[in-house]
């Protein structure tokens, strides 16, 4: 078992294509939703997009974070060979913001769908206060 060091956690996080964002829900307790993201200057940026169809433009994740900024992003790699399992987890606080040009550029570089003007409405800026990672063995 390997506890991944700080740099390795960031490296795996920055390379991952998708993750799960967990937030606090006032009645249900917890919520979780799949997300895509980019890392920009140590901040994890999660787009609120107009591309993937949604039930409402008023997203539950945004409402939850307005009530309590605490959240966690988990990126994990599942493999039927369990000695290849790994995950990275970022605890922190997130808030909605207008996307800065550098943020839009980072997301567009990672995800072709975001190269279309207007595909990102706003973003969640997740500032991690703790990043931890685990691997069954050192990942390549």
């Amino acid at each position: 078992v390997v506890h991944l060091d700080h740099d390795r956690c960031w490296e795996l996080l920055a390379r991952a294509r998708a993750g799960v964002l967990s937030t606090l829900h006032p009645e249900r307790g917890v919520d979780a939703v799949p997300v895509v993201f980019a890392v920009v200057d140590g901040t994890i940026v999660l787009p609120i997009d107009t591309v993937k169809p949604k039930a409402s433009t008023r997203l539950r994740r945004v409402a939850n974070l307005e009530l309590d900024e605490r959240c966690v992003l988990l990126v994990d790699h599942y493999d039927e060979e369990w000695d290849r399992l790994w995950w990275v987890r970022a605890h922190g606080r997130a808030r909605e913001a207008a996307p800065a040009p550098a943020v839009l550029a980072a997301l567009a570089e990672r995800y072709p769908a975001y190269r279309t003007q207007g595909s990102i409405a706003t973003v969640l800026l997740l500032v991690p206060d703790e990043i931890t990672g685990w691997a069954a063995r050192p990942p390549r």
Copy 2:
């Protein structure tokens, strides 16, 4: 956009190989951890195993659930083709229990590592009170 019906949610959930369990943490707010699971008689069973190396046998997820049983299991499928995205989410309550023979058998059938005697210490029994699912288009 497709809101998956109840049966389809259970079907996709039962077939998925892994998911993310989110729980409430008394200070951090939320926690999330990758999990494997089986569905047995409408209950989602998550093994606390002795196979995958862990920092402690006293797992944080178990301690969290003792303080607040509310949790959510998210199973999601990421694909670079975004019209193939889907996810299923089960909100409910979970508690630790000794594994019944039928539960051990279901887990062993799904995951070969669990065919070894003693590989599962206890289980979390997650009783869902709401299952929802989403797909960019109807999954196959």
